[in-house]
Structures are given as structure tokens and as C-alpha cells.
Amino acid sequence: MNIIVPVKLVPDLVEELSIDASGTALDTAWLRMIINEFDDHAIEQAILLKERTGAHVTVLSTNVEGVDDLLFTAAAKGADRLIKLNGDFESGINNHTLARAMATILRDLKPDLVLTGVQANNDLDGSIGPQLAEYLGMPYIGYVSGVTVSGETVIVRKEYPGGLIVEMEASTPVLLGIQAAEQPPRYVAISKVRQMMKTMSIEELDLSTLDSTGAPVVNRMFQPEATGRATMLPENADNAANQLVTIFKELGVL
């Protein structure tokens, strides 16, 4: 089985985010990028399927700063093939553009299963999975937290609110939007990643002309003003505990 996992880097929310001078995009000077958490789960799910069924896993991403580390880490986890996609990403790229451009490439790779994160924290024009699926002519199921492969049938567990799960199935080829892998993404030792850097190579493919039709134009980006702000209690634990007790009494829970 041929599994492809498109992944991307997104802003690391642990760091502080700020807007650049133009007011329409994030300031990249202080921006740290990290793998999209859901894409990380997609890689993990793909590797789990590989371990169970001997599938072949390809991980691909756009050629931006940090992509090498991203791909070699995937290789250290077990990915068989690494591809980075070349194009003009100076001013960022949206999902509409990327889905169109990637579809051509993915079609040639003939995947049986495409796994990608169900969403990303910097998505502004929907997530890439459903769009990619449409261009590839594959059915799409999102918010998947469990995947089983049985021959050419893929059985998934899709999440609804309230803890409700629905089990759906489709024949390959199918594209899934992964919410969570069956186990949290595994850690790989740095020495293993470094080993991959020596033994594996990343293929480069060029993306055809980028067409951004359908994506929104951002007028401005800003940080939300807190409509309300919590009344802050002291930082000292004992004092804070005191005040909380008073608050609880006032609220009638104590």
C-alpha cells in the first residue's frame, strides 16, 4: 500500500506572535515554526499502518526553512521516501494554491491512501485535505482518530462532539483528515535523525505555477483585544488559595 503524508510547518504558539509592518501578515523575524500538530499525528498514523501492513510511506512538504529537519525526523520515525516541493513561498502560501499545485504531483505518485492533518492553526481558507481530495478525485473523511486497513478497504473512526464516534469505510484511494493517531507521535532520538541525514536523501520536485484563486485577501491582521480580562489573583500560592476560598464562598459553592 502506498501512503502519502503531506505535512507543513505552522507558527509555534509557545512563542509570542506579532504582526509585521504591513499589518497583514505575521512578523517572521521572531516566528518559530513547528510541524503542524495534526500533520505529526498523520505521520504517526502512517507509520503505525506501515508497521502493521508493511505499507510504503512518503512524506512531503513545501521547501521552506526547517523542512529538512522536518523530513529527516519523519524518516527517523520510519518514512521511506522524502520529497520537498519547490516553489515561490516568499510571501507564504494558502491551501487553495497548494492543493491545486500538489494535486498534479500526487497524482503521479499514485497513492492508495493520503493522510494529512485535519486542520492547521494558520489555515484561513479551510484545510487542505478536502480540497486536495477533490482535485485528486478521492473521497474525503475528516476528524479521523483511528484507521484500519483491510485489503483495499479503509475503515475509519470519525469524531463527533460529545465523544460520539461514527465508523465509516471507503475503498482506496481515499484521503483522510487526521485528528489524532492511535497513539501520540513518537519521539525519535536525535542521533537517529542525524543518521538519516547521512543515509537518506530528500527528492525535490517543482510545483507548477501557483494559482491562488479562491483564497481570501487579508485586509489586516491584529491581536485580539481582550474584551474582558480576568481579575488577577496573587502569584503566591497561599495567598491565591486564600482569595479563591473567599470567592468560592461568595459564589456559594463552599
Binding site: H96, E134, A215, A237, G252
Partner: protein, 320 residues
């Protein structure tokens, strides 16, 4: 293209979801400036009565057995046909497990623009989206052609999308689709547990900041002392430290307690959307920039590992 605003109503097992009402409320805002009607699209089988309290100028109702349960492929193709036929000014979808499965495909199929994570509609056709875990807001202009918009909760109260008046319902014909590739097998109910957190009035919630499974006992002890129930945000449940029945958030339960004590929770939108119904939110997080402080009534950056035991002890002393 007319100026109507369409809303793709979401329902699950006989109940219209809150996001549908939120979308209707937002749609009315937009319809004001566009001058069109608010039209709700309801797909399903024998679900006419769900149209009952939708605040819409019209309901387009497509009934067929193959639409009984949500099926991404079936719903996407059916809706795409409807949208292509009516060509409204905009169509609203929920940023949910239902809406997001279909809106992207419709955008690609019909070549329609798509803006997601939208929270509010402002005057002059401005739409405000929230991204990056709620830390960044982006303002876009409503795209010109039939615009596909996905909404997140938080900008409108569901009540604003509800009405006591039955809207006019128009049945629209729908063809059974051939060659559907996605099949629904079964629903798997959430594990029944002794506790239904959506009904509890005092919740002690733990998030990533609790760091490991052993530390959850700190929260359990506090809950025991004060008479509350422990619940959790997604990272804790993903790790398996608490069962899904305790999950508060987009994929879990929505809660409306009197007091919601958020311990080590940053306040990501997927979690926040499920707790806005709380009377009072109290947040404990060592990061003063954590978004949870924007919606909490009280907060502190004290270290939870000091504060929670101290609080438990004080409460125990009081209760004797």
C-alpha cells in the same frame, strides 16, 4: 447571483447543533447589508420538524433516505448541486466535523472562494477570523462570488439564531447519488460513565500543564474536597490520562457549570468554545499571556503544583 445568505444546517441524531443557530445569527447580520434573505438548507430524511425553531426567512428541505446520516460525499455532492443552482451571495458552514468535511470539496469543485475560522461579520462586508489558537485575528473582505464561509462559535449567541416562528419550508427535489464511495458502518457511543460532566455545576478541569498522569490526583483531591468533578482538555484525554467522557471541548462535551476551574489550560479555541456557558471561569496558568485569561473572571499565575494542594488543604480545614 442573488443576495441571499444560505446556511448549511447541521444536525446529529435528531438534534440541531448550536453552530447552526450561531450561523443563522451571523447570516442575519450579513443579510442586513446584502439585502437578501436568510435561507437555511436542511438535508436529511424525515427531519422536517428540525426546521421548527430555525430563525430563517426560508428553509430549503431536501429529503431522501441516502441523506439519513451525514456522509461527507453524499452531503458534499448534494449541497454542491444546490449551491450551483441557486448561486447565493454566501453559504455558511460550521467549522465542525460535518461542515469542514464538505466545504473544501465544494470550493474546489465549484471554484468558489472560501474563508474559514470566521467569528464575526462586521459592517461593510468585513469578516473577522481567528487563527493561531485565537492569538491572531484576520480581517478579510467578503469575497465577491458565492462566498463559502465556515464559522466558529464565540461571536454570536445561539439564541440569536432561534425563533419561535416556523419558517416557510420549501421541499426541493434530490436525486439519489450513484457510486458513493463512503459507507457508514455504525455509531459508537461514548463510554457511559457515572458522570455526565455537561450536567455538573462545579468542574475542576486539567490541561497540558498538569504534566503527567500522577499529578491528576491533585485535581481529584481538590474535586473531592470541594464537591466538584474532574474534567479535562484534549491533550490530557489524548494521552489517555482521563477517559473521553471527561473531555471538554469541540470533540467532547459542552459544559455550563456554575464554576469552571481551569488548571494548566491555555485556552485554545476548541476548548473555550465548550465552556463559554459557564457562569464563572477561574484560570490557573503560569503563562500570563495564556488566552484563557481573556475569558476568565479570575485568574492567577501561581504554580498549580503549589496552589492546588494549598487550596485543597484550606477547603478541607474549613469543611472540617
Amino acid at each position: 447571483m442573488n443576495q441571499d445568505i444560505f446556511v448549511a444546517i447541521e444536525h446529529l441524531r435528531g438534534k440541531v447543533s448550536d453552530i447552526s443557530y450561531i450561523m443563522l445569527a451571523a447570516a442575519h447580520d450579513l443579510a442586513h447589508s446584502s439585502g437578501g434573505k436568510v435561507v437555511a438548507i436542511l438535508l436529511g430524511h424525515n427531519v422536517q420538524e428540525l426546521a421548527g425553531n430555525l430563525k430563517a426567512d426560508q428553509v430549503l428541505y431536501a429529503d431522501h433516505s441516502f441523506l439519513t446520516d451525514f456522509n461527507p460525499e453524499a452531503y458534499q455532492k448534494t449541497l454542491a448541486k444546490i449551491i450551483d443552482e441557486y448561486k447565493p451571495r454566501a453559504v455558511f458552514f460550521g467549522q465542525t466535523s460535518i461542515g469542514m468535511d464538505i466545504v473544501g470539496g465544494i470550493s474546489a469543485q465549484l471554484g468558489l472562494p472560501l474563508v474559514s475560522s470566521v467569528r464575526t461579520i462586521e459592517a461593510d462586508n468585513k469578516i473577522i477570523s481567528q487563527i493561531c489558537g485565537g492569538k491572531i485575528m484576520a480581517e478579510c473582505k467578503l469575497p465577491e462570488t458565492t462566498a463559502l464561509i465556515t464559522l466558529v462559535p464565540g461571536g454570536y449567541k445561539p439564541e440569536l439564531g432561534q425563533s419561535t416562528q416556523l419558517p416557510p419550508i420549501t421541499s426541493i427535489p434530490v436525486q439519489m447519488l450513484d457510486g458513493l464511495r463512503i459507507k457508514l458502518n455504525q455509531y459508537i457511543e461514548p463510554e457511559t460513565s457515572d458522570v455526565d460532566i455537561s450536567k455538573e455545576s462545579l468542574l475542576i478541569a486539567v490541561g497540558r500543564g498538569i504534566q503527567n498522569q500522577d499529578n491528576i490526583s491533585l485535581a481529584e483531591e481538590l474535586a473531592q474536597a470541594i464537591g466538584g468533578v474532574v474534567c479535562a482538555s484534549r491533550p490530557v484525554v489524548d494521552q489517555g490520562w482521563l477517559p473521553t467522557s471527561r473531555l471538554v471541548g469541540k470533540s467532547g462535551s459542552t459544559v455550563k457549570p456554575k464554576v469552571y476551574l481551569a488548571i494548566g489550560i491555555s485556552g485554545a479555541p476548541e476548548h473555550v468554545e465548550a465552556i463559554t456557558g459557564s457562569d464563572v471561569i477561574i484560570a490557573i496558568n503560569t503563562d500570563p499571556a495564556a488566552p484563557i485569561f481573556n475569558i476568565a473572571k479570575y485568574g492567577t499565575t501561581a504554580d498549580l503544583f503549589d496552589l492546588v494542594p494549598a487550596l485543597t488543604e484550606q477547603i478541607r480545614n474549613i469543611k472540617g
